[in-house]
Amino acid sequence: MADPITTVHGTAYPWGAKNIDTDIIIPAHWLKTTTREGLGRGAFESVRAQAGNLFDDPRYAGSPILVAGENFGCGSSREHAAWALGDLGIKAVIAPSFSDIFSGNAFKNGIVTVVLPQDAVDRLVEVARDGSITVDLETMTVTTDHQDRLQFELDPFRRRCLMEGLDEIGLTLAQDTAISKYESQDAVYRPWIAGRGRYAGIAVGDGGRT
């Protein structure tokens, strides 16, 4: 779990583009890594191939905030998209909507996904061209240098995890008794669920091919 986070403040990429899929955020050939680090180099590769793009504009370099359009992060479930954004230094994405999987992945990597109505996002794209933005998890507001104050909602559990930097797996493991109880009831109601270990230990053709 990422470090605790209460506010994100700084310049923002004023993008606003709609339906940005995870193949745009991080193309497949970057997915061959076995670690979470270093993916910022591949972030938005096809966008950055274009001259004058937002991500290589010195005015926005290192911005902790990205203002995007509807359905941000649609497409594949690759968490590499969140890792790439994180590696780029992005700590909050503001958009009218996010794909369900992406917002879950972002949250688990300490990136706040802020949902605001389209007109508010349009306004932020404008403001971000030459001003900074603050996302505050305490007050659940987005504020700007120009006195904008936009209220957003955040799932209470996610908010707590973000603000306290909680280890979700550790929290769930603490519920081991409840999980074990479920499993023993399940064994009665659905005895076919437990695997028969058919493939346990199978590793066919252990001949050096990897």
């Binding site: 193949d23 659905r190 230990g201 001949g207």
Partner: protein
């Protein structure tokens, strides 16, 4: 909608015939059966019955377990198989010795999976096993996917397994780690959407055309926040293979999961599969599965109705799966879209795709044809493509490849002689894997070239940097291969 008053399961399974206080949907029943604990804010700790693992989205999860000294809670509910990175060229030499994988990063990722499954005791189908294939083909084929189960995988097309009445959805790597460690996920209940397709499909119209028509209708974000259930005469008449194609692409319409009620066809498909229950357990399982379909009068949060009889063989023109037209249609004019953002993205799409508004889709020349991916690589798909390819030749200048979804599909196709139909026509007949669906292995469409593809994503760069993708059915892909153009399969076969 009374979703809130559906109590968490206390000591009984709804699917075991326990009566609920009101009619429930298939999704609500599976959900209720899997709630371990429910918090005040509605977040539930959900038990996960089945977990598929592949090489791309798992290494960081296993590394996380190792770093924290954690184990895999239920290896017996987990199944790992490599698919995304594997080259589709022959895997052994003439003497049966394994051939090395040229790309060091791919080799490294595949090696990591092998090391991880060994270290954590996870059941594993190796690259050289006859059962190897794309996770979403292997799961149903092995009977690992079962009705009424919760099934996850670090891959968005996990929605495919919903075709068998499983609540199946893609997860990210942190969630993969969470499931490996705890066999659970923290989730909130989704809204439900019924997509009802009545009528009868016309000649030359397949499951792929149905799902393209659905996404064209609801849009790429139309299902966001919903779990979809596909109902209606058309869905009931589809084979399990066809249903898998429809559920597979649920995610392209924004829905994380797309369920189809299990029925006699589902049970017949699963019976006798290696990992499906057998004997007395099978009978008990089927008896429970019969309780799963949505009750009469169950309420959905949204309903979409589509007339199946009106669906034509279809394909995409742009870079979003919602950019769908019938093959008899033309490239749309970006100015015809009401939404300014859509106008803008359509303009960009057309520029990327090298198409001009008003051009007839039929007749657009293609250089590549890909028949494969977890959407359309099962035996029925290969039969449909072979029927078109039979007695014809791949057009000059076209590279056409067929990549079966698994080793077992490949073997069955070879037993039916489909491989010979394809190779005689000039198609490449390759080893199973994801292949040109996402171009992580050497199978790529070169920049600026056009591909008729049975896969599920036409995103910018999906089949290789600069590649131009048109999504369509296996029969339509074969028609494109033999004519060298986007073509109406009905004219070839009529």
């Amino acid at each position: 909608m009374l979703r809130e008053d559906l109590h968490p399961r206390t000591d009984a399974f709804i699917s075991a015939g326990i009566m609920a206080s009101r009619p429930l949907t298939l999704y609500e029943k599976i959900w209720a059966d899997h709630v371990i604990e429910r918090r005040d804010d509605g977040t539930c700790l959900i038990y996960i019955d089945r977990h598929l693992v592949h090489e791309v989205t798992s290494p960081q999860a296993f590394a996380g377990l190792a770093a924290n000294g954690r184990r895999v809670r239920r290896p017996d509910l987990t199944l790992a198989v490599p698919d995304h990175n594997l080259p589709t060229s022959p895997r052994v030499d003439a003497n049966g010795h394994p051939l090395p994988i040229a790309d060091p990063e791919s080799a490294n990722q595949l090696a990591a999976l092998r090391a991880n499954v060994a270290a954590f005791g996870v059941p594993y189908i190796d690259a050289l096993a006859p059962e190897q294939g794309i996770v979403h083909v292997v799961g149903p084929e092995q009977g690992f996917t079962l009705p009424g189960t919760t099934l996850v995988c670090g891959d968005s097309h996990t929605s495919a397994h919903g075709a068998l009445g499983a609540l199946a959805f893609g997860i990210g790597t942190s969630e993969v780690e969470h499931v490996l460690a705890t066999q659970t996920l923290l989730l909130k209940q989704s809204k439900t959407m019924e997509i009802r397709i009545d009528g009868t499909l016309g000649f030359g119209v397949s499951a792929k055309d149905v799902v393209l028509a659905i996404i064209g209708r609801i849009g790429a974000a139309g299902g966001t926040g919903y779990v979809v259930e596909y109902t209606g005469e058309v869905i009931r008449a589809l084979s399990v293979e066809g249903r898998l194609t429809v559920s597979n692409m649920s995610i392209e319409g924004g829905a994380r999961a797309g369920l189809i009620a299990p029925d006699e066809m589902t049970f017949a498909y699963l019976k006798g599969r290696p990992m499906a229950p057998a004997g007395e357990l099978w009978d008990r399982a089927v008896a429970q599965w019969r309780h799963l379909p949505s009750d009469p009068g169950a309420q959905y949060d949204a309903t979409v109705r589509i007339d199946g009889s009106a669906i034509a063989p279809s394909l995409t023109w742009g870079t979003s799966p919602e950019d769908v037209v019938p093959i008899t249609g033309v490239v749309p004019d970006p100015d015809s879209f009401a939404d300014p953002a859509k106008r803008d993205s359509a303009r960009k799409s057309l520029h990327y795709m090298g198409l001009t508004p008003g051009t007839a889709m039929q007749g657009v020349a293609v250089g590549h044809v890909f028949i494969g991916s977890c959407t359309n690589s099962r035996i029925e798909d290969l039969r449909a493509a072979a029927a078109v390819a039979s007695g014809r030749r791949v057009a000059d200048g076209v590279r056409a490849m067929v990549v079966p979804g698994s080793g077992l599909v490949k073997r069955q196709a070879e037993a039916e002689g489909l491989d010979r139909v394809f190779t005689a026509a000039g198609f490449e007949w390759r080893e199973p894997g994801c292949s040109m669906c996402l171009a992580m292995n050497p199978d790529k469409v070169p920049p600026g070239e056009r591909c008729a593809s049975t896969s599920n994503r036409n995103f910018v760069g999906r089949q290789g940097p600069g590649a131009r993708t048109h999504l369509l059915s296996p029969a339509m892909a074969a028609a494109a291969a033999v004519t060298g153009r986007l073509a109406d399969v009905r004219e070839l076969m009529g």
